[in-house]
């Protein structure tokens, strides 16, 4: 018995050590992006490992911002003042992710409520269609989507990325899981009080599924931000570039200037990581809810 507890203690210490090593390895690429962004050229091309910049410089960011310029925004034919292209990429990415997030949350909250609480005809068929679609590889439909988008004259606009993101059924599925927990009696009571469907939804349903909306919002935001393949297929011209596309295009042009690329990678990833860290509680809840209760 005694040797048994000693062994389990030794195993515990061993596993903590392994975990810490793994954590360092998993953090390393991010560390390398951030320090790399501030390294001077002699550190970057040094064949010996340079663990910390010998001198913290902003030259890489200067290069990134001075390399290309673009109008800061262009909506309805109006163009903003000329600014570094990286800012435009950032604005495009934020616009795209936020719009996709709002549309997804609004449509999915309504649909999830209907699927969970409304006994309409065809509900079961619709729900199984949604579950099947979720199991399909999203990227397989990208090439046909391109044809459809060019027929709709949406190709090469941010909407071509936003609409398919909104259509992806995961959000509806997640919101249905959250809506299941709304007690039927409360809905019944509001109906007897004579509240309209819309009023019931806004005043009773929405407050109760708030955690679900939080989870879906952060999930959609991060996915839209990082969906490189979709952006690559849908946004061929430079003015609609997003952060990931911009970095990828820099990479294709100057695959040698690693400092510049790290500055770009830092600019693309640090904002989204901060958003993730702030909302990570919702995020964890959303991932779990979407999986287990299915």
């Amino acid at each position: 018995m005694k040797s048994n507890t000693a062994r389990s203690r030794a195993y515990k210490i061993f596993s903590i050590i392994v975990l810490i090593i793994l954590a360092i390895l998993f953090l390393f690429p991010l560390y390398w992006i951030i320090t790399g962004a501030f390294k001077p050229a002699q550190d970057i091309y040094n064949p010996e490992p340079v663990w910390l910049p010998t001198e913290w410089v902003t030259k890489n960011f200067d290069n990134l911002f001075n390399k290309r310029s673009a109008p800061l925004y262009s909506i309805f034919g109006l163009s903003g003042p000329t600014a570094p292209a990286a800012f435009r990429w950032l604005i495009n990415t934020v616009f795209m992710s936020v719009t996709a997030m709002i549309l997804t949350c609004a449509t999915a909250a309504m649909a999830g409520y209907a699927l969970a609480k409304k006994r309409f005809m065809g509900r079961a068929i619709l729900f199984s269609l949604i579950v099947c679609a979720m199991a399909l590889p999203k990227q397989v439909i990208l090439i046909p989507l391109l044809k459809e988008m060019s027929a709709l004259k949406l190709y090469d606009s941010l909407w071509a990325v936003i609409f398919p993101t909104v259509g992806w059924p995961f959000g509806v599925f997640l919101m249905k899981q959250f809506s299941e927990s709304i007690p039927g009696e409360i809905l019944e009571a509001t109906r007897i009080d004579g509240a309209s469907e819309a009023k019931t939804f806004i005043t009773v349903v929405l407050p109760m599924v708030k955690p679900g909306i939080g989870a879906l919002a952060i999930f959609t935001f991060i996915n839209a931000w990082n969906d490189y393949f979709m952006q690559l297929v849908m946004l061929p011209s430079g003015e609609n570039y997003t952060m990931p596309l911009g970095i990828a295009s820099l990479q294709a042009e100057t695959s040698i200037d690693m400092g510049l690329l790290m500055a770009g990678a830092a600019l693309a990833s640090v904002p989204i990581i901060i958003v993730f860290l702030i909302f990570q509680k919702y995020f964890t809840q959303g991932i779990t809810m979407g999986a287990v209760k299915g």
Partner: protein, 307 residues
């Protein structure tokens, strides 16, 4: 009389439910049908045609199953398919085992420590495939990559290894990056599943003298089966779709050593080749890929059910 009134009443109620249900579904359905279901049908239909990217119309002329029979003879596609299967076969079990081990090591830790570990393992997903790929490209670099400089300065190797340029190592380099970006979600899921394991069963088994290992396999593993199944399915889908890494790191090279089906679909549809812009052909590959993923998911479901 009363009965009639009642059935009329319920019919009215049912109609109200129908109207309300569909009104609530409508916005979501527009996007779902328009940008998921319709492209799916376009994919299937065009895979039977010779549609070209440069054609103005949606559908070219019908050529039956010719695209599929061409695929069976296409060496590059077969190589890509083989690579895709290697990626799936290696990464799915390792991702599952790794995340199960990490989760069982961290799920009893204190709240903030647990959160910290969970976040760290999730970070590569959040960082985004492009940023992750760019930094790995530098780390793998032949001349000034950190991997080679560490190996050289510790004297393990004399000359730097051309990680991405050598057909023997390139695919494994990609699998490693894919691995780091795949374990985040399974760890979150396993941690929560382990927390939900019925403690009374665990205690009862311990009273009966079961060892930790027995408790783990006989009780926890059995109860986590639905989670494991979900993880297997999502990891399989993710591995099949491995694209950004390949497009940014190796573009399928060297000598097709890292070609995957997903990359070849993109290549066929966009890059200048003999098959340039051959949309129908690319979609035929998409259909084949979807069939494989569907079949594998079904198989995993069946195996999990039997257990």
């Amino acid at each position: 009389m009363a009965k009639q009134a009642q059935s009329k009443m319920s019919r009215v109620l049912q109609r109200r439910e129908n109207v309300a249900g569909y009104l609530f579904m409508l916005p979501s359905l527009i996007f779902f049908l328009g940008f998921v279901i319709i492209p799916m049908f376009i994919c299937i239909i065009t895979s039977l045609t010779n549609t070209n990217m440069h054609d103005p119309g949606m559908f070219g002329s019908f050529i039956g199953l010719k695209n599929f029979s061409d695929l069976a003879k296409d060496q590059v596609f077969l190589k890509g398919l083989a690579n895709t299967f290697i990626i799936v076969i290696v990464s799915v079990p390792t991702v599952c085992a790794f995340s199960l081990w990490v989760s069982s090591a961290i799920y009893k830790l204190k709240g903030p420590v647990l959160s910290a570990f969970r976040c760290i393992f999730y970070l590569p997903v959040v960082t985004g495939s492009v940023a992750v790929t760019v930094v790995w490209k530098w780390m793998y670099d032949n001349y000034n990559g950190i991997l080679n400089s560490v190996l050289k300065s510790t004297g393990i190797v004399e000359k730097g290894i051309n990680w991405l340029g050598d057909p023997k190592t390139a695919l494994w380099c990609i699998i490693l990056i894919l691995f780091t970006t795949s374990v985040g979600q399974p760890i979150v899921l396993y941690v929560s599943a382990l927390g939900n394991v019925d403690q009374t069963l665990v205690e009862a088994a311990q009273v009966d003298g079961a060892t930790d290992l027995q408790v783990f396999w006989k009780i926890k593993w059995a109860q986590m089966m639905p989670t494991t199944l979900y993880i297997l399915v999502i990891t399989t889908i993710n591995s099949f779709q491995c694209f950004a890494l390949i497009q940014l790191l190796t573009q399928g090279g060297p000598n097709h050593a890292t070609d995957t089906v997903m990359y070849y679909i993109y290549y066929t549809a966009f890059k200048l080749t003999e098959q340039s812009g051959h949309f129908g052909y690319a979609n035929a590959m998409g259909v084949v890929l979807a069939i494989f993923i569907g079949a594998l998911s079904a198989l995993q479901f069946k195996l999990a059910k039997e257990k």
